[in-house]
């Protein structure tokens, strides 16, 4: 069988460059498998060889999308892979967005790509039409189950074998419909499903209704000089010592903290509880995440009516959509009853 070339994309952590302090590393390429690529190589069909690894810091990739994309494209051009494998990124948002972008670049170059992500990773929704994304758990603990599915898909793509449905192959639905031949015509299948439904039996829909959860933009404000503005953040700024013990990752709750009479958030009294990004800058000056100083100045200038005397904070890192939704729904109710008319929500 013809030898097939595989290239793997990894972030700075899995690429063994370093932790969060190396998140600003620009793309680098290596002519061999690195980190999870070693395990992947063992699982790939015999005719598939990992000829290269591209490693880039998650911070660099997301903050310099155009430059990073251009460099990765050049590297892929040099490696000339038959298939690109990106990640797995599990529930790491920045890593998932990077893997998805790499998949899109490969797709545009005519190269199929495979990644692995937790279904709530924003990379899934943004990029699933460009690459196959195997469903993984939300942390690297699921590496052992992720790699075999990814290797199997990558091998099939490299060898031009046909790819089964998402359920058969373990990847997340790409929103693509394909014609297939089946024994029974549509009306019969629909009646069968309907009967099962009426009998409270389980059935598999052939076309799940897409769920678009969009909210209409709220009406614009005409005069901010009389408006109370509140600050909300997913950047994890908390009073020093983190009194409510908000988790560094996968937060289970949020906090409400007084900023009454404060002209800024000093590094003596506030810090970040957020994991997954380098906390040095937020700890040095928490206003970089929750801009109390700027809003106080604007309050003084009369540009806004007043700054709401509390801010709300949670950690966005790996926090489930369901939790974030319930935190914000509670916060929103409270803001309404307190007469807050505008919100600035900051994220890291």
């Amino acid at each position: 069988m013809e030898t097939k070339r595989i290239v793997v994309y990894l972030n700075q952590f899995f690429g063994q460059i370093g932790g969060e302090e190396e998140a600003n590393t620009p793309p680098q390429s290596f002519d061999k498998p690195v980190g999870p690529g070693m395990g992947l190589q063992q699982l790939l069909p015999k005719n598939c060889t990992i000829v290269g690894t591209i490693v880039c810091g998650d911070g660099y990739f997301n903050e310099n999308l155009e430059e990073a994309s251009a460099t990765v494209q050049k590297m892929l051009d040099n490696f000339k892979p038959h298939v690109v494998v990106a990640g797995p990124a599990f529930n790491a948002g920045r890593y998932g967005m990077a893997c998805g972008t790499v998949g899109k670049i490969a797709h545009e170059m005519g190269i199929p790509a495979v990644s692995g992500m937790y279904p709530e990773n924003p990379g899934v929704e943004s990029y699933r039409q460009y690459l196959y994304i195997v469903e993984t758990g939300n942390s690297a603990a699921s590496m052992r189950t992720a790699l075999p599915s990814m290797a199997k898909l990558a091998g099939k793509l490299a060898n031009h074998e046909s790819i089964g449905t998402p359920a058969e192959e373990g990847y997340l639905s790409r929103g693509i419909r394909r014609n297939i031949f089946v024994e029974k015509r549509g009306s019969e299948r629909a009646i069968e499903m309907l009967l099962k439904k009426l009998n409270n039996e389980g059935f598999d829909t052939e076309y799940p209704i897409p769920h678009f959860d969009r909210v209409e933009p709220a009406q614009a404000l005409t005069d901010l000089s009389k408006v109370t503005v509140a600050l909300v953040t997913s950047g994890g700024i908390v009073p020093k010592g983190n009194p409510d013990r908000i988790e560094a990752s996968s937060a289970s709750h949020y906090g409400k903290y007084s900023i009454k009479d404060l002209t800024s958030l000093s590094s003596d009294s506030f810090e970040t509880a957020h994991g997954g990004y380098d906390p040095v800058y937020a700890n040095q000056a928490p206003d970089r995440v929750v801009p109390v100083d700027a809003l106080r100045a604007l309050e003084k200038e009369g540009k806004i009516g007043q700054l709401f005397p509390y801010y709300y904070s949670t950690v966005g890192n790996g926090t489930s959509v369901a939790n974030a939704k319930s935190f914000a729904a509670e916060i929103a109710q409270e803001l309404v009853s307190e007469g807050v008319q505008a919100v600035i929500l900051t994220s890291t």
Partner: protein
């Protein structure tokens, strides 16, 4: 989180660095920030320059709340 706040009718602006995530999530008013670890700041600037930068981003965020939007809008 932005959607739940907007759902009760309060106009909300999302200030964040990775705007594609914000667009995916469904924020309607988005203002791009500086960097992931310091969205509203820049440690390379002097204190005064940094404050002015932060104030400018906040002013842009407030401006977005006074603009009528009918679809997701990034206020560059």
């Amino acid at each position: 989180m932005v959607k739940e706040i907007e759902r009760v009718g309060i106009p909300v602006v999302h200030v964040c660095t990775v705007t594609p995530i914000s667009l995916t999530v469904g924020a309607n008013r988005i203002v791009p920030a500086v960097a992931i670890p310091y969205p509203l700041g820049n440690p390379k600037l002097t204190g005064e320059e940094e404050f002015n930068l932060r104030k400018k981003i906040v002013e842009q965020a407030l401006f977005s709340l006074t603009e009528s939007v009918s679809e997701q809008t990034v206020f560059d």
